[in-house]
Structure formats: C-alpha cells, structure tokens
C-alpha cells in the first residue's frame, strides 16, 4: 500500500478541524480465559474516538495512531515517504490529507481552513448529519412509533412546567387576526398528495419570512436585507431550496429561492423529484412525504462566519434564524389555509447530494413543508381544541 503513495511522491498534512474523546473498550482476555488464573477476564483498552469536521462519521484510533496524527504538521505539506509507514492508515481514512487528492477529503478540509468555524460547532454540525436514515422504521422496530410504545419503552416524561408557589393571574389575551392564526397552528401529518397548491399560495408563504422587503446598501457593495424575520448581525444567511410537486403553474422539480427578486431558479437534478426522494429527505416520515412543497432551510455558513469568526454562538444563532423562518411560514401557510410542518429529522447528506451542496457551504438544518390538507385524519395530529379537525 505504501508503494502506491510513494510512487507518486505524495505530500500530506494533518486535517484542519477535529476533536477526540477517550473511550474505554473492553475485550475478553483470551490468555486469562485459558489459564483460568482467577484474574479479571475483561481487559480495558483505551481508544480515541476522533470526530473530524470534514468526515461524516467518527474514527477509532489507537493512542499511538493519535500521536502519529498530531505529529504531522497541519499547515506545511510533508513528503509521505519521510513519514513512518503506519501513517498510511491515517491517509486512507482521511485524517491526513493528501495534496491534490480526488477523493474529496482535501476539498472539504480546504473549506474548513477558510471557514472560520469554532471547532466544536463544526464537528457537531458535520456529525449530526444523517444519510439514508429511516427514522420511523428504526422507531417502529423498537415499537416506539406510537405513544404507548414510547412510554412503555422510556417511562413517563418529566412534567410540563411546575405548578406550586404564589402566582399573579394574568388577564386573558385580546383577540386579533394574529391570535386566530396562532390558535390554528397545528402541524399537519395528513396531506392530500393529489391536490394542487396555487402559485399565489407558494409565493405568499415564501415571501412571509424569506422575501427581501427592503435593503440597506453599504458603500462597499455589501447588502443588508430586511426580511419578515430577524437574523443575527442582519446577515440573513439562510437559503431556501425547494422540492415542488403539484404546484399549479410550476413544473415539478428542485428550485432555489432568490430572496431579492422573489423568484425561483430551476436546479438541475440527477433524478426526477418523486415521493421516494421526499421520503429520503424527511428520513422516512411518510406523513410528511406528500406535501406539495418542501423547503430545505440551509444557512450559508460563509456569510454568517464572515462576521462571527470562530464564534462560540454563531451556530446557535443560525439555528435560531431557521426557527424564526419556520414559525413565519407556519403562520403564513395557516393564513393561506394550508397544512404545514417543520422537521429536523432529515437526511442532510442525501439532500446535499441531491441538490449539490457542500456541507460547509449551505448546511441543511430543517425542512419546512406545506400543502393541501387531506379530508381525513389518518395519522394523529395534536389538535386538542379541534381548531382544524372537527371532533367526531
């Protein structure tokens, strides 16, 4: 294996961004087992679980391998031939980056070098992404897809709020058009996939939170948008990518929303959009898969981190921004008489692949979906006040 690397006289350097955790693994002591000398039969072995921001999964290293890894400079390239043969493993798994590799390690590593991330946030972001996950199947296998099974498996959840002490009773709220929308907000799990959403409805929901309503132009050309939602530093880094199916006047397909012009750009996709793709995006949550519009909310980290360089809270701020957008669209979809939902149980990596995103460029964090409600409630929705569903 080493010859392959040496043959092209490769140079390597250490990846930019990783953390590691000590992990104790136990194995049976076979020698002790055979000799039966009354010694403890389990042997502890320490490994390092290395979580790198440019990799999608953790890697277990021996302490000696970790030592090798940190012995290689992270800035200067060194000839692979000058290093011990044992580093080949580190090159294979991508912790040592080969100069001009085609495998993608160097490209993602380079993004992180330029990306100004605080390492724990970068690693958390990278490694909380899913690929090919069917979250429902997994729950169903454990009998936890229904509330009864969930409580059987997990016990009772901690209560909602506490209820002792002296209290000041507050006057009841006024009614208003906003209050009516807030009271009608019920996450929809029953879409009529055969029905159509009007383009005016699509337009209205996107405009609510994402549309640029006005802008302040700086002399340098920097532009600060005014939108229906607040955003940290006024940067509005969240991009919206859409999967449309059954929107009147629009071809089914993938689109990118342009906030300034309030328009959509078609994205070329490797495959036709279909229910199967939607199912993959929402990680098997079949009750969401028939929504006519799926909006992938993905912060552009380069814009956010332009200001918040290596900032501990930047990732939190971006996530809050996504939450603001989702609630704005919830209310707008409700006003438009549509059903809607938001979920973070998504296969980020599949979405990145389907719409050709770099994980440290635009990072999908949630999907907001909306569409036409079914006539019948087949999957339970939480509507205790019968605001949407007439009680039977």
């Amino acid at each position: 294996m080493i010859d392959r690397y040496k043959a092209v006289d490769s140079r390597v350097r250490r990846c930019w961004s990783f953390v590691c955790e000590p992990v104790d693994l136990f194995s049976l002591d076979m020698v002790g087992l055979i000799s039966g000398g009354g010694q403890p039969l389990l042997v502890r072995e320490l490994k390092w679980n290395v979580l790198a921001a440019h990799l999608d999964a953790p890697v277990l290293l021996e302490p000696e391998q970790l030592e090798l890894l940190v012995g290689v400079d992270r800035d200067e390239w060194v000839a692979l031939s000058s290093l011990s043969e044992s580093v080949c493993f580190l090159v294979e798994i991508g912790l040592l980056i080969k100069e001009a590799d085609d495998g993608g390690f160097s490209q993602r590593d380079q993004q992180l070098r330029e990306g100004r991330w605080w390492t724990p946030a970068a690693v958390l972001h990278a490694q909380s992404r899913w690929q090919g996950m069917d979250s429902i199947q997994e729950l169903a296998e454990r009998g936890m897809d229904r509330l009864d099974g969930l409580i059987d498996a997990l016990g009772v959840p901690p209560p909602s709020g506490n209820a002792d002490g002296v209290v000041h009773q507050l006057p009841a709220a006024e009614n208003s058009s906003l209050e009516i929308l807030l009271s009608r907000r019920v996450s929809c799990r029953n879409f009529d996939g055969d029905a159509y959403v009007d383009i005016e409805q699509l337009s209205s929901v996107l405009w609510s939170g994402l549309g640029e309503r006005a802008a302040m132009l700086h002399a340098s050309g920097a532009r600060f948008s005014k939108k229906g939602c607040p955003s940290a530093g006024g940067l509005h880094p969240v991009e919206a990518y859409l999967m449309l199916r059954n929107v009147r006047g629009m071809a089914d397909g993938l689109y990118h929303y342009q906030a300034d012009k309030h328009r959509l750009l078609s994205l070329t996709s490797k495959q036709e959009v279909c229910r199967q793709m939607a199912m993959r995006w929402v990680a098997g949550q079949y009750w969401f898969a028939d929504a006519q519009v799926l909006v992938v909310l993905a912060p552009r980290f380069d814009r956010l981190l332009w200001k918040y360089q290596k900032h501990l809270k930047a990732y939190r701020a971006a996530t809050l921004d996504v939450g603001h957008l989702s609630q704005a669209m919830y209310l707008s979809a409700t006003e438009n008489g549509l059903g809607c939902f938001v979920t973070a149980a998504i296969n980020e990596i599949d979405i990145e692949n389907d719409i050709c995103l770099q994980p440290f460029g635009d990072g999908p964090m949630a999907i907001f979906g909306f569409g036409v409600r079914s006539q019948e409630m087949c999957v339970a929705e939480l509507d205790p006040d019968s605001k949407i569903w007439k009680s039977v």
Partner: protein, 388 residues
C-alpha cells in the same frame, strides 16, 4: 484511594505561534507552532490545557471503573494533579464527591455527548459584547466592513439555471403580512414609560400559553402551544424579567403556561446589563423574556440524539418569531439575542445549565421617539426617514 476519569471528555488541539527565543537571541526570527491539548468536560466551564504527557496519563485512568491511585507512578500522579483539580478525573475521597455526584446526574440525562460539550462551552459568563465591539472598532456595519477587511459573502447567491427563472406573483396584503412588514428589531426603548400589564399578558398568552393539552395518561401530558415542538414535548420555559410593568412589581417571574400566570422568583441578584453582555440598547426594555430548555423533557424521547439540541434551538426561534409578531401587533418593539452571559441568567434564575439551559433572550416594550441607536429599517416601516 481510587481514581477514575469523567466519562465525557473532548480533547482539541490548540495551536499557538511562538517566536523561537533561542534563535531570536541570535538574530533569527523563526516561528514555532506550539500544540497543546485543550480538554473540555461537561461539568466544567472553560478548557484545561495539557501537554501530550498529560493526555498520555489521562489514558491510563479508566472511566467505567475505579483504579488504585498507588498503581500509578509518582510521575503519573503528578501529571494528574491539574486534571484532578479541574475535575476531569476524580477520586473516591470526600473532596471530589461533587464531581462524582455531577457525573452520576449527567449519566441520567441522556445528553448526546458532543451536544453537551457544545452547550456547556458555548455559554458565556463575563462577556461584554459592546466593549468588545468598541475595542475592535466594529460598532457600526461600516466599521465592521473596514475591520474585517473584506466584504461579506453576498446577501444572496444565484444557484440554479438563470435562463429558467420563475418570477413569483407578489403576495397580496393581509393582517399577517402587515406585521411582517412592520417587524423591526428595537434598540431604542422609551425609558420613561411602563408596559401595561394587559399588553404583557396578551403577548405571553399568544406566544407561550398552553392552548389545550392531551392527557395520554395521568402522568403523561402533551401541551398545545402556538409554536411547534419536537415530539410535542414543549420543554421550553419562559421567565419574565420585569423592569417596568404597570401593576406588576419589578422582579423575576416564571410564566406558568398552564395557568397563564406569573410566579414570582424574587429580585434578581445580577445586573441585567451584564447578563445581556453589555447590550445597553436591549437592557432598557421594560420586559425581558428568558427562553430556557428543560433538556430532560426532550431527551426523554430523543436520548443521546445528535439532532435533539438543534431541535431545541429551532423551537426557541419559533417562540421568538411569534413574540416579535405579537409585540408588533401590540404596537411594541421587540428584540432577540443569544449574545448573552448565560451563566448570569442561570445564577439569577437558579438553573443548573446542563438540566435547564438558556438558549435565547427576548425583550419588548414601547419604542422611544428618537432613534439613537441604529436600527435596520430601510423601508421606513417604523421610523420616518426624517428622523434618521
């Protein structure tokens, strides 16, 4: 005496450039990259720096069982002292009982390990963002642009096929649309006036009140609120920091979402301005609402789940957006920030950060007549161009 390692520790290499002093004395300028390991735990704030020898000895100490202190060499025992002091390893002696207890409690909380580290270590204690901005000369967007030396990546990007543009119809007017259009983060509060209690009550009820609940069984209740929540668990709490409310004594309150009532928690022992990391334009709001998450309620379902923490932050964003719209509807200004000293809010509210943590802080109140601090209102929705 026996010793063990805390279960969840994250090590990160820290790089610093140092001038090679020996060579500098001989007139050569050579920079050396110094690497130290920064260790972070879930019970301590801040990182502990160790050399590679410190990391090596950490490996010797098991996490899932005790080891005898005397089985370590004297040298190893010495290397462990800083880690013992920091509480990344602990003994079975009384002096380390607090770490042992924290370790036990943490094991029952179902935190996803990396999220726990992220949460604990993205909290601030004594930060003053305004001083920091002044020190770095980045108080205005103009200064920021100059100090950072480059323009920000563009406000929007052109993805997709520009020849196949689909312009969308402009959406019509609606009561909701008017609220979105008038949403401008307020940094100029009227410091004389008090917020009428009915206005506060209305905003709290619209945004945070329970609108019904489903009792699955006697001890398992799911609330309905105006924002969605992962698993319908609604683990977010709202605490009201009342500074000037007509008919409500100043102080801290917990909002009871079931009863639509405020439960007094006494006078805050910390300064609001400090807790808001020096953001004086926000500290003038008559009412501040602290959004916290009771992690155990979400983690009951989403155990060691990599996305659970993200879902909680999303929920805080939903509440904040509703609060903005509700305040706007009531003719009030509002703001949200996560540039806060969480540790000071925790102190004021008596929270243990890994059980119930501060995610974001909002405020609302009457606007002042003059824009002293810049607000982004290019459409003139709030401020007439003449007053700029």
């Amino acid at each position: 005496m026996r010793i063990r390692r805390c279960l969840q520790i994250v090590a990160e290499l820290h790089h610093e450039r140092h001038l090679d002093l020996a060579l500098a004395l001989r007139g050569q300028v050579v920079w050396r990259d110094m690497q130290t390991w920064q260790l972070r735990g879930v019970h301590l704030d801040g990182a502990v720096a160790v050399e590679s020898a410190g990391l090596a000895v950490l490996q010797q100490v098991p996490a899932l069982e005790w080891m005898q202190w005397q089985d370590l060499s004297v040298q190893e025992q010495d290397s462990l002292q800083p880690l013992l002091k920091a509480g990344l390893v602990y003994t079975d002696m009384d002096e380390h009982a607090a770490v042992a207890a924290a370790e036990d409690a943490f094991a029952d909380q179902y935190w996803h390990p990396l999220s726990a580290i992220y949460h604990r270590h993205s909290r601030w204690q004594h930060a003053d963002t305004v001083q920091a901005m002044e020190r770095s000369g980045t108080r205005t967007a103009q200064e920021l642009r100059e100090v950072l030396g480059s323009a920000p990546p563009p406000a929007w990007v052109e993805r997709g096929d520009s020849t196949k543009l689909e312009s969308l119809p402009r959406s019509g007017d609606s009561p909701l649309e008017q609220l979105f259009a008038a949403r401008v983060t307020c940094r100029n509060f009227d410091q004389e006036s008090s917020l009428p209690l009915p206005v506060l009550a209305t905003v709290l009820e619209w945004v945070f009140a329970s609108r019904g609940h489903e009792n699955v069984c006697e001890d398992t209740v799911f609330l309905k609120r105006s924002s969605p929540s992962g698993g319908g668990l609604h683990p977010l709490e709202a605490y009201v920091w009342a500074q000037r409310v007509e008919g409500l004594p100043a102080g801290l309150y917990h909002y009871r979402c079931i009863d639509h009532a405020l439960a007094p928690m006494g006078e805050p022992e910390v300064s609001l301005l400090q807790a808001l990391a020096g953001q004086d334009w926000f500290a003038q709001a008559p009412v501040v609402v602290v959004l916290t998450a009771r992690f155990a309620r979400n983690f009951w379902k989403y155990r060691e789940h990599a996305k659970a923490y993200r879902a909680l932050l999303l929920e805080a964003g939903h509440f904040s957006q509703s609060l903005y719209l509700a305040a706007t509807e009531q003719g009030m200004g509002a703001w949200v920030t996560c540039a806060v000293n969480e540790a000071l809010f925790e102190q004021a509210l008596g929270l243990e950060p890994m059980s119930e943590g501060v995610l974001a802080v909002c405020g609302l109140g009457q606007r002042g007549d003059v824009m002293d601090v810049m607000e982004l209102d290019p459409a003139g929705a709030i401020w007439q161009p003449a007053s700029l």
